[in-house]
Amino acid sequence: MIKKIFKKIFLIDLIKGLLVTLKYFFLGKITVQYPEQKLKLQPRFRGLLRLYKDEEGNDLCIACGQCIRACPDSLISIYSERGPDKKLRPITWTFNLSRCMFCGLCVEACPTNAIRFSHEYELAVYDRKKLYIHKKNMYLDENTKKYFEEN
């Protein structure tokens, strides 16, 4: 009883709160100063979608259309033709970034592992037309490090 009155008069409960705040004052910051420092991303991070080539430099994409069927919003469109080696190759491969949810169903559906997530997340552009990415910009090599600079 006495303890309760003591606590009430001397504002012990309020002072406990003040001490918690003071503790964190001395513990320092946990924020990352972007853009000078950037966070390290996990391996499975869902960044921008990219097409990949195999070791010889051929397209891994065989234009089977599984990714088109898997996408909830039908954002990919492919026009394909049979090449000289009787294999189906995509001629135009267009991807609409403006409505992509980054859900990953197309990555899961691809049988040859041609389309994968990269680690790019700085995707802002000034012009909406640049969000329709065409085939030549879908590959991640030295020419297309930043996809919209080419366009």
Binding site: L14, L18, Y24
Partner: protein, 343 residues
């Protein structure tokens, strides 16, 4: 010549110093508050504008200056323009009486570190504070819409009820100092060799809480809280007028901290005057003691703001009328008894 220097030149210099002090310290205070809140919240505050973000307040001031001064159609023009000025001017005027330090001897001339020392110093200060409330009431009333009116009425009633508690807690200090002049109060603490906070802890406590409420800071800032329905009395103001209210609020914070140090913590006196081996502390000029204590209390204002939630409006009023004022009256009674019995 001597009259010219004594009555014209030195007061003008003092006025300039005080005004600069208030403005600069408000700017620095805003920066410190944001950095402090950032550190408490495990992040940095503003750190991009200028080295470590010091020029952030300057950027804010430039933004407010260059903003368009929006005056809605239906307002009462004269009062709308005048009320920020009332709030701002009264917040500045009271700084004239605060003694920043002991007397200095420069070039053989005695210069006192306050602008004016009235015999009724405390009364003057409290009176001007009350006029400052007008700035808030009129500000809400001039913008003729329901919601600023509600906000300003609430703020007005909050400030009035806490002023009563403020004044009551001051009376018990006067028993010991026997004078309303601020300089005399500090001198009385020097004679009695003990600061008033240690012989009047209850009065200090009540005064501090009332001071937090008077300057509309958390935990008593319901009239201007964002999660309330309106922005309070300063909803309709933009640009420089809003800056006036803002500066007036921070000037209030500094002012109340200064009052607490002068009245309860010995003004410019150094701690432990009886202990001899601490006499080397005498070499520190008294101004620094004053500013140090001021900074300490401002820090406590900011610390409280970062931590506690805010009170609801009717609970605010209940605290003042049910607890603070009766406690202050009891304090006066007991202090009077003790003074009579001891003498």
């Amino acid at each position: 010549m001597s009259i010219f220097i004594d009555f014209v030149l030195i007061p003008i210099i003092k006025i300039l110093v005080i005004v600069t002090f208030v403005f600069v310290s408000v700017l620095i205070l805003i920066w410190i508050e944001r950095r402090f809140q950032g550190f408490v919240q495990s992040r940095l505050g503003p750190n991009r504008v200028g080295p470590q973000g010091i020029l952030q307040s300057v950027a804010d001031a430039i933004k407010l200056l260059t903003k368009e001064d929006v005056i809605p159609n239906q307002v009462d023009r004269f009062i709308f323009n005048i009320s920020p000025i009332i709030a701002f001017v009264t917040a500045l005027v009271v700084f004239a009486l605060i003694p920043f330090g002991a007397e200095l001897n420069i070039f053989g001339r005695k210069i006192t570190l306050y602008l004016a020392d009235l015999n009724i110093g405390l009364l003057f200060i409290i009176g001007f504070n009350s006029i400052g409330v007008f700035g808030i009431i009129l500000g809400g009333w001039a913008a003729k819409s329901k919601y600023p009116l509600l906000g300003s009425l609430r703020s007005a009633s909050q400030m009035i009820s806490y002023e009563v508690a403020l004044i009551m807690s001051l009376v018990s200090v006067l028993f010991f100092s026997r004078s309303l002049s601020l300089v005399e109060i500090v001198k009385a603490q020097q004679e009695m060799k003990v600061w008033f906070a240690f012989i009047q802890p209850l009065a200090f406590f009540i005064f501090f809480i009332a001071g937090v409420a008077e300057s509309n800071r958390l935990p008593f800032d319901l009239p201007e809280a964002e999660s309330e329905l309106v922005g309070g009395f300063h909803t309709e103001y933009s640009g420089m007028k809003f800056a006036f209210y803002f500066v007036a609020e921070f000037a209030h914070v500094i002012f109340f901290s200064a009052l607490v140090t002068v009245l309860f913590f010995g003004g410019w006196l150094r701690p432990f005057p009886n202990v001899d081996w601490l006499n080397f502390l005498d070499y520190i000029p008294p101004v620094f003691w004053f500013l140090g204590k001021l900074a300490f209390f401002v820090f406590i204002f900011m610390w409280i703001r970062a931590t506690w939630p805010r009170y609801r409006y009717d609970q605010l009023e209940m605290i003042s009328w049910k607890w603070l004022i009766p406690l202050a009256l009891v304090n006066i009674f007991i202090t009077g008894l003790i003074v009579i019995l001891v003498k």
